[in-house]
Every structure is written in C-alpha cells, then in structure tokens.
Amino acid sequence: MESIANIQGLTVKYGSFTALDNLTVNVPAGCIGLLGPNGAGKTTLLKTVLGFVQPASGTATVLGHSIETEGKFIRQKIGLMPEQDCHIPGMSAVRFVAYAGELSGMPKAQALRRAHEVLEYCGLGEARYRQVETYSTGMKQRIKFAQALVHGPKLLLLDEPTNGLDPKGRDDMLELVRTVCHDKGLSAIVSSHLLPDVERTCDQVIVLMKGTVRAQGLISDLKKLQGFPVDVELREPNPNFTTEILQAGVKLISAKSASFRLLVPGNDREISKTVQACARKAGAQVRGLSRAERTLEEIFLTAVQDQNDTSHINRPIADISQSQTNEPPVITGEN
C-alpha cells in the first residue's frame, strides 16, 4: 500500500519529558485514525509532521519530503484542522478561506474561486460573507475544515474534528470527512478521543501510548477474533445452556447474563446447528446469533492496557493481548 509518511526512530522531547519515544511507523494512504489517551503523543506527532516541533533524533518523510529540510513543501501539501478554534480576526469567511489559500501559494483569483467552492461544500455557502467571529461552534468547525481543504491538500490532519458539535453537526462533519477521504482520494489522519468517530470515518488506526505505537492496522482486521467465535443471545438467562454447550465441546469465551461468546468448531451451518441443538436441550430460546468481533473500544483498551510493557511496538493488537493474558490465543489481528 502507498505510504504517506514514513517515520523512523523519531524522538521528541519537551525538556526532560519524552513525548515521542523512538517512534517508528509507516503511515499508509487512506483515512487513518490516530488513537491514544491524553499525553500519548498524538498531537506531538502531528506537530512534528508539520515542522512545529524539532525532533531530538530520528527521521521522517511526509509525502516524499523530509521534515527536517522540506517543511515548507510538506505544509504546502497538508491541510491542518486544529483542535482549538482559530481564525484571522476581522475577516469574512470567504476572505479568510481565500487568504488561507493565498498563504499556501494559490493565485489570488483561484484562491477566491476555490474559497467559494469549499465553503459551499462545507455547508457555509449562505454564511460566507459573515465575519468568522460571529459564527457558532459548529460553523467554526466547518470553516476550519474549509480552510484546511482550500488549497487541495494531499493529506489532511484533523485534530478532534467533532469537538463541541451537537449530534447533527457531528454527523455532518463525519460525513464530510468520510466523503473527502473515501471518494476523492485524499489521505487523512484523524486524531480523536471519540472512538465511534474514528470507526465511522477511518479504515485504519494507529494506537499511540507513551510516545510509541502500540497497535496499527486495518480496523476490520483488528476487530477479528481468532477461530470465528460467535455471540449468542438468549431470551433469558439459562444456566443449563452453559452446561449443554460445554458438553457439546464448545469453548465458552465469556458469559454475561443471557449473552454468550462461544468458540464453536465447524463452518457457519454447523455452528448454527450446534448452538440451536444446545439451546433446545437446555430449553432456551435463541434470540440472536452473530459473528463475534471486538469493538474499537476493546481494541483501544487492550492496546493501552499495559503501560509499562513496550515490547508490543508495531505488533498487531492480537499479539499484545496474548502476551498479556497467557491464555490460549483467541484474538487475531492482521495487517
């Protein structure tokens, strides 16, 4: 897969605090979610990519340019949507966005034309001549997105794009991000604490913890569990069902009230038959039977669980889980 950023052994320090610790990661093209708890190094990574922060050691190339010597070329091809509100005082929205385009190197007339376009696209067409200071929080988020897009960047850096938005605004913003990244061929790195947002917009995630990569891969791969376990939901709790499935040679991974996660040998049809048979014997009524997969929250929590163990760098999340629990391998993750 094409790479948009290649980071090798990057260390960034703020005084004695190490924000990025010998970070090595290859960021593929597409929409990438950057996850991590507070202080994990997400924002520092974005700022280092932009050249705001000088690394203590290591190298990185972004879109084929070195961050050490070609910062301006990188920033010309990147659009940043910062987390906090930012605008240039005293300007209307269209002037602000056009000015952002001019700063990136667009000719004035092109920048103005393009500003009208992206403001329409971002849903601010009606409000384009209003002063940005008078905008609501949701509109300010949109205009930040518009100014990031105006010069046609190859890579978008979106830091908490849904900050402060109401549910409708959040939906709209995620849809904008998703459309740009999936239909128009732009790459984006979305840094967010909101896992559903990342899940909705991104194909892949990078989980950072203490300045190192704790997990990376396609979300669909990371969600997979080894052995095709299934989730079974009964109408009501039934202790006999547990007995029956154990007698049938089915591995019980977890049981919570009327919900069970089972590892059943065989193909889909055989699994269904086995579960139905066990339920019949136990006198239970099956309400739901589906392939089990982990949520992004589980992936994230597993990745950041052991804060002291740094031996998982660049390894799939499944391996992390295995090494921590010493249980039979039940989770897989493939890149």
Partner: protein
C-alpha cells in the same frame, strides 16, 4: 438538486497553479495593509496627521499674497530653511502618527495570538520569519505612505510656488530625503509595534503598552531637552544631545534631522534658540538598528505555533 447557485457541490481536488513556497511574507503584508485601510479611523487620523503641512501651506499662501510689495522678495521666505520646514512638520505630526500606528499595529500580532491565527499561518508554507516580516511590512508601508503623501504634496506646492526663494537651490536632494524620512518613520513604528504586540493576547493592552512606552519616552526626551538647553545649568554636551533622541519620538525626529542634514528650527518661526541639534549619524543609526532588532527579536521569541509546557 441542492438549492445553491453552485450546481456541483461535491468536493473537487485543486490542480491549479501554485507558487513555490517562498516569499510568503508578501500575502501577509498585503492582507495586513488591506485590513488597515478598511478602518475609517485609519483614514481620519492619517488625514489629520498632515495638518502641519497644511498650516505651512496656508501661512505661505497668505504671507506670499499679502505681505510682499510688487517685485520685491518677501523677507519671511528668505529667512526660511526649506528642509527645516519638512522636519518641523514631520515632528508636529508625530502624535497623530502614533495613533495611526496604534490603530494598525497594536493588534497586528496580539489579535492573532488571541484567535489562534498563528496555527493558520504556520501550518501553511509560511515560516516564522515570513510571518513577522509580513506583519512588519504591513505596518511600515501604510505609515510610510501617510507620512510621504503630505510631504510630497507640500513639496509639490513649494516647488511650484517658491523656487525663487531657494526651494531647490538650498538643498538639491530634498526630493530624495522626503522618500527616506517616511521610510524611517515606518520602520520605527513597525518594529516597536510588532515587538510589543507579540507580547500580548489583546490588541488593546498591546496598544496601551505601546502608548505608555511612547509617552514615557516622550517625557524623558522633554526632560533631557530641558537639561540640554541649559535650564538646570548643566548645559549642552554630546551625551545629552544623543540621549535626547533615545525615545520613539526622538528617534524619528533625530533620523529626520540626520537625513535632512539640518539641526532643525522651530516650526513656522524658524528660530533655533530651543532646538537640540541633530544627533551623531552613527548613534542614531545604531539606535534604529537596536529598535529593529528589539522588534524582531521579541516577536521571534514570542511567536510559537505550539505552547511548550515544561514538565
């Protein structure tokens, strides 16, 4: 179809022309100037700042038309040193120039600090130096222009009316000098403005600080001037002469005198009794360099795209 004048609302990539990521300071300077000239206050105070030239022209007009017998020279004009009138007018306009500088310069960086605009600038192919220089130029050019325009008007009026009174013969280079004096005024105000503005998050506080610095410097200059002309008996000396020009106001007047090559004289009368002579050129140039370095140095240190919190 969506209800919009633009039919195709889907996102399209931009593949049009892009300038190389150099000289990004020019769009910043242009925008700063555009925002400055949008303000009514700028035009009002800029116009008012030319009052001294206007008074000179009115005095000259009436003196010339009423006080001269046919065919004889007017004694008022024969005693005038023409380049002194430029310096005197420039000196009188200082306070109004300060107001213009406060209007366009005090908030130039402070307001960007408040609204996080630095993230917008510095996430583009704009370096810190591009940003500072662009802001500096965006203040220096309008101030130089509002000093230059009345000077040039005054020059044109005098050139057309008073050539026979030595307007050209007294100083052949006066046209060059009236280019240089406004540039110096622009440099001084722009340097101080960006330095002070970058220290604050609010334009008003930056403006108040700049005004305070200016007036404290002005009173200091007045005090030193009194010492120089002998009020306290210390009397004129080289040190006091140079010290007199160590304020934002004094620096500009000193530069104007050095450029014009005159010690100056009192406005309208031409008397020189209470005038501190021009400073040593090397001293005033050194002082100008210090002010420029102060402005750029403070701004350079204060402007950061990220807050670095020590841990």
């Amino acid at each position: 179809m969506p209800n919009s004048p633009i039919a195709d609302l889907s996102y399209r990539n931009y593949d049009g022309p892009m300038s190389p990521p150099h000289t990004r300071w020019w769009p910043i300077a242009k925008m700063s100037m555009r925002l400055a000239i949008k303000s009514k206050g700028f035009w009002i105070w800029a116009t008012l700042s030319s009052y001294a030239y206007l008074i000179y022209m009115v005095i000259f007009y009436f003196t010339d038309s009423t006080g001269t017998a046919s065919g004889r020279s007017n004694p008022y004009f024969t005693m005038l040193k023409w380049h002194d009138t430029f310096v005197a007018s420039f000196t009188l306009s200082q306070l109004l120039l300060l107001i213009v500088a406060l209007l366009i310069g005090a908030g130039s960086i402070a307001n960007d600090n408040r609204s996080n605009a630095l993230l917008v600038y510095l996430s583009r192919p704009v370096s810190k130096l591009d940003y500072i220089f662009g802001k500096w130029l965006g203040i220096a050019i309008p101030i130089a222009a509002i000093v230059f325009v009345p000077m040039l008007t005054y020059y044109g009026y005098c050139a057309m009316s008073y050539a026979k009174y030595g307007f050209f013969s007294q100083d052949h280079w006066i046209i060059v000098k009236i280019f240089l004096i406004p540039i110096c005024a622009g440099i001084v105000h722009a340097s101080l403005s960006i330095g002070i503005s970058s220290m604050f998050n609010q334009g008003r506080i930056a403006g108040a600080t700049y005004a305070a610095v200016y007036f404290i410097g002005y009173f200091f200059t007045v005090l030193v001037g009194q010492l120089y002309i002998g009020v306290t008996g210390i009397g004129p000396n080289q040190f006091l002469k140079n010290l007199f020009y160590c304020s934002p106001d004094g620096l500009q007047v000193g530069l104007a005198k050095v450029i014009a090559g005159t010690n100056g004289s009192e406005a309208f009368t031409g008397f020189t009794r209470h005038i501190v002579p021009r400073p040593d050129p090397w001293f005033i140039i050194l002082l100008l360099i210090v002010v420029i370095l102060f402005g750029f140095g403070v701004a350079w240190n204060r402007i950061r795209p990220v807050e670095i919190v020590s841990r």
